[in-house]
Structure formats: C-alpha cells, structure tokens
Amino acid sequence: MDLIDVHEIRVARTRDDIVLGESVRPLGGGTWLFSEPQPPEHTGFVDLTALGWTPIETTADHLVVSATCTIRELTDFALDPEWPAQRLFRQCAESLLMSFKIWNLATVGGNVATALPAGAMTSLLAGLGARAVIWGAEGRERGILVSDLVTGVRAIDLLLDEVIRSFEIPLTSLRSRTAFRRISLSNLGRSAAVVIGRVDATGECVITVTAATPRPVQLRFDSVPEAGELSDALSGYSDWYSDPHGAPDWRRAVSMRFAEEIRAELSAGTDSSTDTDSSTGTDTHTGSDA
C-alpha cells in the first residue's frame, strides 16, 4: 500500500549514505513496510538494496549472509552435501506465510528486523547460532547473536542509527544434524510454533523455539537430553505467545511435543526429516524437505 507520510526515499550506494534517525528508517525489500500502515513519524527511508552487498559468501569459519540477501537467493543457494543443516534454509523459508513471489523481494535482514514471532529467518539464524553484524553511524560495528538481537514482538536491539549488515553462520552449525517441526492453524498459514533442534560435532544439542514465543527461546544441553530433562527445562518457560494464530496453551503443548519428537529424532542418531504429509502439501509436523 502507498505510505502516505513518506516524503523521501534515498537509495544508498555507499555506507556513508546510510543516515538514519527517528524519522528516516531502513528499507529492505519493502515487503513488510509496504504491507501495513506505518507510523506517521516515519517520513523517509534509506533503501539498502542497491548497496551491492554480496548475498552469500563463505569464509573460513562462516557462511556470511548479507542482510539484503533475498529469501529467494537464500533458498537458491546450492546445497552443500557437507552441510546437512542447510536444508533448514528451505524449511524455514517455507514456514513463512509469504508466497514465493514475495521471496523475490523480501530480505533476510528485513525479516529479522521486523521481529515477528513467526519470523522464520530469525528461527533459522537463531537455530544455527548465527551472529548479526551491526553497522552504526561513523563506521561503528558490533556483533550480537540473533537470538539476542530479537528481544520481543516487533522489538529488536538496534539503535536508531544502526542497520544489520550481515549474519555469520558458523560452518560448524551447518555441519550439524538438525530436526525441524512447525505448525500453524491452517496448512501453510502463519507459523504458530517452529521448533528446531541441532546437534553439532561436539555433541552439544540446542533446541530453539520460535513463533510460539515472543522471542527465540533456546535450550542448550551438552548432549542430547533425556525426555524428562528436556520437558523440565521447557515446562519452566511460561511466556507463550497469544495472537490470532494460536492460543498460548495449545502453542505450549505443540511446542513441547515437537521438542520431544526432535529430541527422540536426534538421539536416534538418524538424520531424517520425516515428511509425513508432503503429498497433501501440508506441513503441519515437518517442513517439506527440499
């Protein structure tokens, strides 16, 4: 929809062009910004998509996904057989309510910055232990774990002059075994619970719950836990999210069930993503395995 209070959109070509403030906000793909009325005080945008940031790069230790990498580019990135966890890219992208057409524009950074519980890029990056690189004014730069960056519903730990530059996914995470479950109130609807489990080479097991909670909830175990240990850890959590996409008591129940299923799957040592119902196009228990 037209944003009636916007007077200026500046297209940034270099880092120096990224000048933000109370009234001038960053613009990624624009797919969220233009899909809802925005606060009248946001009268200007700085478009980040022409900065020429390489969408995805591999360094010695990380896969670096730029904030302006589109969801399409992320899912198109060639599968590396050494990285079993890479299938989460597609599973998470499919968990978004948005259509494949929106994938063409929506950016990974924009999804994380929107900070919706159903932000599947947050699920992905938090689940993989990624760190966000943040750029501030005057060349400032800092890093923060994605699981800490998103602090609540539509709340993110960024200063007014900061943007997300990129996400660094540790290659060790990509080499991990993972398991994934999601559900929504309708088959391909807005996620009500997304649970990701990961076991890395050291045996460390991380369970990340998103969509069912206002911000990512992460449980860390030295090794795949016993059922009781896991359920004790999760049942201590009480801030289950409530919105039109699911009641909190149900979200708690399905999240706990998924966590347990994931625990069982990971402790069985198999690297499967049982796709119980892809033939109906539904994905209530497991994402379709691409």
Binding site: P37, L105, I183, R190, W250, G281, T284
Partner: protein, 934 residues
C-alpha cells in the same frame, strides 16, 4: 521515471512511498487489481523483469528501466496466452477478481511443476480466491476443459462459458473502479470513531479544510436528517431506520465521524488527522446477553416507533417468540432428548473487490453512481429517499462486481459519494480498504443457538425448540431479516408436533453485522443438525435414516411455530430424498479418482494420534427471498441477428449472466454468444430487486424466459406476415398474435426465422434486418417472485483428526444438491464448490476477532484464515434429478444453499472421530486440541 509496461514505454511520475500497483492503475492499467493492498491476496500480481511480484508491496521508486508485464500484456481475447485460454476453457473463474493475479502467477509455472502438481499448494499460497474453492483453478492450470460450445437453440443444460470469461482472463473486463472519468476524480476518506460509544461534543474542520488539495470536509452538521438502513430489501420498511449518513452519536469503533474530499487519496487521508474532535465517551456494551439485561447501556434508546426497532429499551431490534403444542411436556415424555448450545463466530465476506463507489453528474445533470453493489435499484431508491431526489434524477449501475456473498446488499459507500458529488459537482470516489472490510463492513452475525430436541424410541421427533441470540452490532441493517430467516427453513424442514422458537436480535456497541450467504440459516442449521446428530447417536439410528423419518415431504405444511400459517412457499419439486441417498451411497462406496486432496491421491494418515470419523448434515432453503422480489426484463432483436437483453440484476460471480444468455438463446434458437447482455443498471431495465437470495436465475431468469418467449412469437408472426402476405407485418409485437397458420415447421435460427415452403412459395429465412424493417422487435417479461419453491442440500464428510494437534484432515467431502433442472452443470458445480469452500473456512479456519471492547484485532487477510488452495479438498458434487414447477425450465436457485449444511456435517464428522461434540466455530486446531484435553 521511465519503465516499460507490456512492451510500451511509460514515463510516469512516481511519488515517494508509492507502490507499483498505484502507479500502474494511475496510468490506466486497470487490469492490475487491488484486493488487499498488503501482499496477502495476489490479485495485484504482475511480472517485473519476468519475476512474479505482488505489485501492491513493490516500491515504485525501483521501477527505472524495469519491464513490467500485466495480465493484459500476456495476451488478448484474440491472442490469449495459453494459461488464459486454460482458465477460460476450465471455467476457472467466478467473479474473476482474483483471476488476473492467478493467471499471471500460473504463467510462471514450469511444465514440470504443472505435471507434478504436488507443489501447487505452495505455489498458490499467495493467491486467494473466495469464489471457486480452487478445483476449477487447479483444472485450469492442468489444462482440463470443463466447458463446451452449445449448438444453436440448445444451450440450456450445457456447460457453456461465462460470456465475460475471455475478457476477464485477459484483464479486459471492467470492475467498479476500472475506468477513467472524463473529469478528474476527487477522493473521499473517512475519519473513524476511536470510541465504541460516544457523542461528538465539538468538531472543528477549519485546519483540515485549509490543507492542500482539500475540497470539503463533512461532519454530522452536513448530514441529511433522514434515518435509513444500510441493509437493502424490496420493502424498505423491512429494515430498521436507525442510521444517519453522519451521526453525532457514535455507536461503534470505526463509525464515520467526518469525511474529507480531496484531490488525492493521500491528501484526503492526511487531512483526517487535522480534524479536531472532542467526544463525550458513553458507557458501552459488547456482549449481546448483557445488552438485553436491565440497566445495560442503550444503543438506540432514544429512537421511536418510526425506526421500527422492536424494543429499544432492551436493545432488541427484533424478536420472535412462538410455540406450537407443548415442547416441555413433549420433551419430558420423549424416549431420548438432546440439549445444547452452539456458538458461531463473525465471518468476513472477503469478496476480493472491496466496497467502492464512484459518482459524478452526467450530461443530463443526473447523479450517476457506479458502485460495487448487488442491488443497484434498491440503492437508487434509498439514495433518493435519503437525499430527497426523484428517481429519474439518479442512475445507479454496477460493472462486473468482484464478489458479493451478501456483503454488497448493503449501502456503505454510495451515500457519502452522493453527498460529495452533490456538493462539489465533481466526480468523487470512495473505496474501502481491506482493513475497512474487516473493521466497518458488516460481517456475518455471530449467534448463540440453544437447541432442545426429543424423539420417540423409533426416532420420530416429538419436539424441537430453538433459543437464539444474535449480535446485530451497533446498527440493525439486516438484523431483522436474518433473524426471521434463520429460524425458518432450519426448523420447518422437520416435522415435529411440538416446536418453539425464541429468537432475539440484539444491539451492542460492536461493529454492525449484516447479510451473509445463507442469511442466518447456516448458524441455526449448525446447531440443529449437530443436535440431531447427537440424537441419532443416543437412539443408535443412522443419521441419514433419522432425517428420512422426520423431514417434510410434499403435502406437509412447512411449519416454524404456526401450523396454520399461510405462505407462498410450495414444493415446486422435491429432491431431499435423493440427496440423502446420493450422499449416503457415495460415502459408503469407494472414493472416485478426483476426491479428497486437490492434488492427487488422498493419503490416509497413519499413526495412533489419528482418529477417523464421518458425518452428515442437511439444509433446506426457499428458492427466493420472501415478501416479493421483482424483475422486469427486456429482449430485443438487433439487425445483425443478435439479441440484446436488459436485466437489472448484477453479476458478481454468481453466474446468472451465463444462464440468462443460455435461457434466451435456447428460446430464440441461437447461441449464447449472440446474446448481448446489458445489466445491473437502472437505465437498462425498468426494475429489479437485485441479486440476493439467489434470485438471479429463478426471478430475473424466469422473467427473461417469458420475455424471450414473447419475442419469439412476435418474430414468427412478423415473418409469417412478411412471407405469406397475411396479416400486418408492422403489428405491435407487444400484442399477442395468433401463430396458428398451421406452420409446424417455423423455426428460429441464428440467421433469422426459417419459414417452410408453402402456397406462398419456397421456404426461406427471414433475416433480422428484414424483420426489423417493419419496426423494432422487443418484448418484456416480468416476475414477482411468488410463489416460491424449496431446494435442498446434503453434505457428508469423512475426516481424520490429529489428537495431538487438533488438525482436521478432510478425506472426503460430498455434497448432493437439489437444484431442479441443471441449466449449466459446470457453473452449478462451481457454486456448490465455492459455497462449500467458504463453509469449510467458517467451520475450521476463519474468525474475526474482537478485543472485547469493540476493537477488531484481525484487520488483514494475514491474520484471518481465508481458505487457500492448501486448505481445501475436492468436493464431490452430485445432483438430484428433479424438475421444478416454478423455476425457469424447471431450475431452482443454488448460490447460498450449498454453504448451509457444511459446517454441521464437518462438526458431526469430527464428533464421530474424537468422541467429543464441538459446540463452537471455528473448530480450529487449538480449540479441538483443547476439547480433547477435557
């Protein structure tokens, strides 16, 4: 900024903050639709450099040098894109408002994706269709042809195409706002009440009026003093006069406080913030049960009898209390009884085209309103009533309407536009946003329905009682009609010696409710059919059998609570018995190849968590609305041998236009493509009550059929006079003529009247031009909508329910419909599928949520689960073989009806599976999961 659209360079001004869709429409690329303006529905889909995008969320400042392709750029009616041809051949559209986006999106699918099909749910998750239920869209994508070309004189009963189909699929068909007015159009925006109940104590518009581009700001001080109702019916006194164009008292959040007219939408919206208003906040009530308690805040307490509110001192807009026999005694003596209370939710129509009107003054100085309405004549009459205008000074018409479902039997935008046009003399437009559709357009009435039912051990009903409470919201509009209808066919379909109805329609400070497909029946049928299912369980009688033992059959009186009530409702035909058999047999037999999943074999889930069940329910509906429904139609012969029909009723995907063409072509020995249809315009027909109550075929269609019959006789008479020299060729065709010249072989053909050989010479065709040389040939036909017949629908489901998550998976969905003669099988199937789809949405997914203080919290499609491709099964559609004595060629109506039995059938199947009775809609996963925890 320069970019290309469909191969043509466009040099357009792009304002910061604008999206591609706006820029395209500003440059008259009206084929690009606005369904939600939020990225959710896909109606605005276009290709940018060959990539499909939703143009409503594509920032326009990025357009420089880009190549944009719209649906009109893909192909034309003469040279359609293969995907356009497929949508046309498959009848893959109803209202067609989603079609541009569907076609553009599907045009990007690869052959492998289409051949495989299993990815379609994902590929189409960004494209909503409210009309079809997606089966026909799937067929279109697969390249299945569902339509046929009819021979001359033989189109009724065949699946001919919708006349506008090819125009729709190529983006050529105009909807309400798809045109350019000769003079620049002004735009209207509305300041909405932030309070659920308040009085405006002061309002200052000076600052807003001074803003750039603003022409006028209206407040309650400018409003006509005439009370009216936004709900429209044949008799205006059927609805309560409780509404003003602008009222100083605000009774729900979102009610109009002021209206700004400015050069652009942006200017009008920006000026709203500059209107300074002070309010006196009043106590409000949101729960209809509390609203009728003593001491509750009164919503229309000050209104007098002239408003026709049943009891303003109790917030009751309508009530009905009646009993035949003695229900309580009968229940006490019954072998088995069931008692329960069922609750339904608010549903938005989700017609993809929002409410909108553009108005202007025409060359004759008349007010013209082009509006997305189902009822142009009723709108005209009420606009004249409110503004004191003579009817010949107002023209109201609808272009193709992008979906209605009852939501456009309501006057929501026309009055403000009238006010603005009359004041400014300019063309003025007011278009609802999707958020408006959720927050201020009347949704389906939420109802609480208590049912008590008893039976003998042999399963014969002894008593049936209904206690209904409906939340009509802050204004009454359809709150009276819906209430009376809701307890009619739902109850009169059963024979029971003792019956009782207590129904009340109650004002609250929630947004007003309104007319919705089924008009109240669905809510009560959900309760009654659930109760009957429970009764069948108690008695251990098959639910189909329980129905057979208790339903009305021809000869029975259709009693609500007065067994002696006189009524024009008759059994013009009866197919309920067949429908029950058809569904029962279908469910008992093996599933046909195309059933269950839309994309191939239906997997039966495995695992302990899955519970399986089947369920059924039925519904009766009158074939027309009560209390009069009128249609005046004309058929005229044109010199080129085509015919022009004039009919007042509107086309919004209901398909009546197709049937009107078929009926006329059948009588006149021609093909439907030779029928020119002028419709939904107060200038082209004398009168039509409008397209609601599924009246398009049985009222307007019957009137047209009569008109065509008259024209046929007149044409034959004139041809005879011309050829034989007997009689006067110039005789007034309106006067009945004897055709009894012993000419059995006279026939109408597409070329003209075929006269056989005889004393006058060899046989020959008298062409249209020859006939018209002696004067015009035009006939009219009317129908008054009485007497009325009844139609029936039975639905059956088999389901699997995941006990862990509450997911319901539909394994089979079967509906049998008793529609009389089937005039267009593919279209009728589409109506049944579409009604079923909407009802599955109601049963499992959709829910408008309020915060308990009058604020709607689901304000966009993304927060409201309108069924997507991935949410719906194939519905097996079966037809009873009946012929109705009252309808045209034996046909009955079938637009609203298919919706009604679906939710209870699904609830009964779920009950069968999980052993717990759902009492509340939607049966969402979280709710079913919770039922299973108890």
């Amino acid at each position: 900024m320069k970019f290309e659209v469909n191969g043509e360079e466009l040099d357009a001004t792009v304002l910061p903050g604008q999206v591609l869709r706006t820029v395209l429409r500003e440059n008259e690329r009206y084929e690009v639709k606005k369904g939600c303006d939020a990225g959710d529905c896909g109606a605005c889909s276009v290709l940018v450099d060959d990539q499909p995008v939703h143009s409503c969320i594509y920032p326009a400042h990025r357009l420089e040098g880009k190549h944009v392709t719209t649906v009109a750029g893909l192909g034309s009616p003469e040279h359609p894109h293969p995907m356009q041809q497929r949508f046309s051949d498959a009848a893959g559209l109803q209202c067609g408002f989603c079609t541009a986006g569907m076609v553009v999106t599907a045009s990007t699918f690869t052959d492998e994706q289409i051949a495989d099909g299993t990815d379609l749910p994902r590929l189409l998750k960004g494209n909503l269709c409210r009309c079809t239920g997606y089966r026909a869209i799937r067929d279109a994508i697969y390249g299945v042809t569902n339509t046929e070309v009819a021979p001359a004189g033989d189109s009724a009963g065949r699946s001919t195409k919708a006349p506008a189909g090819m125009r729709v699929v190529t983006g050529r068909e105009q909807y309400t706002l798809d045109f350019t007015t000769p003079t620049k159009t002004l735009h209207l925006a509305v300041l909405k009440s932030p309070h659920s109940h308040a009085r405006i104590t002061s309002i200052d518009t000076t600052a807003a009026e001074a803003m750039e581009g603003v022409h006028v700001v209206f407040t309650h001080r400018d409003s006509p003093a005439t009370l009216f109702s936004t709900g429209r019916h044949e008799n205006r006194t059927d609805d309560p006069d409780d509404t003003l164009v602008l009222d100083p008292v605000l009774r729900f959040r979102g009610q109009r406080v002021a209206a700004v007219v400015a050069d652009t939408v942006r200017q009008a919206e920006l000026a709203l913030a500059a209107v300074v208003v002070e309010y006196e906040v009043l106590p409000a009530v949101f729960d209809p049960a509390l609203a009728r308690e003593p001491g509750a805040p009164l919503v229309h307490g000050e209104k007098g009898p002239e408003s026709r509110i049943s009891d303003p001192s109790r917030n009751v807009v309508a009530q009905m209390h009646g009993e035949t026999g003695d229900v309580d005694a009968a229940l006490a003596a019954s072998a088995a009884t069931v008692e329960g209370t069922w609750q339904t939710q608010r549903i938005t129509h989700a017609a993809l085209e929002t409410h909108a009107t553009r108005g202007w003054i025409d060359d004759d100085g008349r007010l013209v309103l082009r509006t997305s309405t189902q009822v142009p004549f009723l709108v005209r009459d009420e606009i004249c009533h409110i503004f004191g205008l003579p009817t010949d000074r107002v023209r109201v018409f609808a272009a193709r309407v992008g979906g209605g479902f009852g939501g456009k039997q309501e006057l929501l935008t026309e009055d403000l536009v009238t006010m603005a046009v009359l004041r400014t003399g300019r063309s003025v437009q007011y278009e609802f946003t999707r958020e408006d559709e959720f927050t201020i357009a009347p949704p389906r009435h939420p109802m609480r329905v208590g049912v008590k039912v008893g039976a003998t051990a042999g399963g014969i009903l002894t008593a049936l009682a209904v206690d209904e409470l409906m939340d009509t919201g802050a204004y009454g509009n359809h709150g009276i009609g819906v209430m009376f209808h809701s307890v009619h066919e739902s109850i009169s379909v059963y024979r029971a010696p003792n019956k009782r109805v207590d129904a009340e329609s109650v004002y609250t400070n929630n947004l007003p409710s309104g007319a919705f497909r089924g008009y109240g029946l669905g809510q009560v049928i959900f309760a009654v059919e659930s109760a009957l299912d429970e009764l069948a369980r108690k008695l251990d009688i098959d639910p189909f059998e329980l129905r057979r033992r208790n339903v009305v059959v021809p000869g029975d009186h259709m009693t609500v609570v007065d067994p002696n009530e006189e009524s024009d409702l008759l059994f013009g035909s009866y197919g309920l018995d067949q429908c029950l058999d058809l569904v029962q047999n279908a469910l008992a037999g093996p599933p046909p190849a195309d059933s269950g999943s839309l994309i191939g074999a239906t997997p039966v889930p495995t695992g302990d968590q899955w519970a399986f069940g089947t369920g059924m329910a039925m519904a009766m509906i009158a074939t027309m609305p009560p209390r009069g429904h009128f249609a005046d139609t004309t058929v005229a012969l044109n010199a080129d041998g085509t015919y022009t029909i004039g009919v007042g009723t509107a086309e919004f995907g209901n398909g009546t236009t197709t049937v009107h063409g078929q009926l006329t072509a059948t009588v006149l020995g021609t093909t439907p493509d030779r029928i020119v249809i002028e419709q939904s315009d107060t200038d082209v027909a004398r009168y039509d009550t409008g397209a609601f109550g599924s009246a398009g075929v049985v009222v307007a269609g019957k009137a047209l059929y009569a008109a065509a019959q008259k024209l046929k006789i007149a044409m034959i008479a004139r041809a005879q006079a011309i050829v034989t020299g007997v009689g006067d060729p110039a005789q007034d065709p309106g006067v009945p003529v004897s055709t009894d010249l012993g000419l059995v072989d006279v026939a109408l053909t597409p070329e003209g009247v075929l006269m056989p050989a005889g004393a006058w010479g060899p046989g020959r065709v008298v062409s249209a031009a020859e006939l018209l040389a002696h004067g015009e040939l035009r006939a009219d036909g009317s129908h008054d909508g009485t007497p009325r017949s009844v139609a029936f629908n039975v639905h059956g489901f088999s389901v699997a329910v995941d006990r862990n998550t509450g997911e319901v998976r539909i394994l089979r969905s079967v509906q049998a419909a008793d529609a009389g003669t089937v005039l267009n099988p593919e279209q009728l199937r589409g109506q049944v599928e579409g009604g079923t789809a909407q009802a599955i949405g109601t049963a499992l997914y959709e829910e408008m949520m309020l915060d308990g203080a009058g604020q709607v919290t689901t304000t966009a499609f993304r927060n409201y689960r309108t069924p997507k491709f991935s949410d719906l099964p194939v519905t097996e559609v079966l037809f009873a073989a009946t012929h109705d004595d009252l309808g045209p060629l034996g046909a009955k109506s079938m637009s609203e009806a298919p919706y009604n039995p679906v939710a209870p059938a699904l609830a009964n199947a779920v009950r069968d599976a999980i052993g717990v009775r759902p009492h509340e809609l939607p049966m969402s996963r979280d709710r079913l999961w919770r039922l299973l925890q108890a």
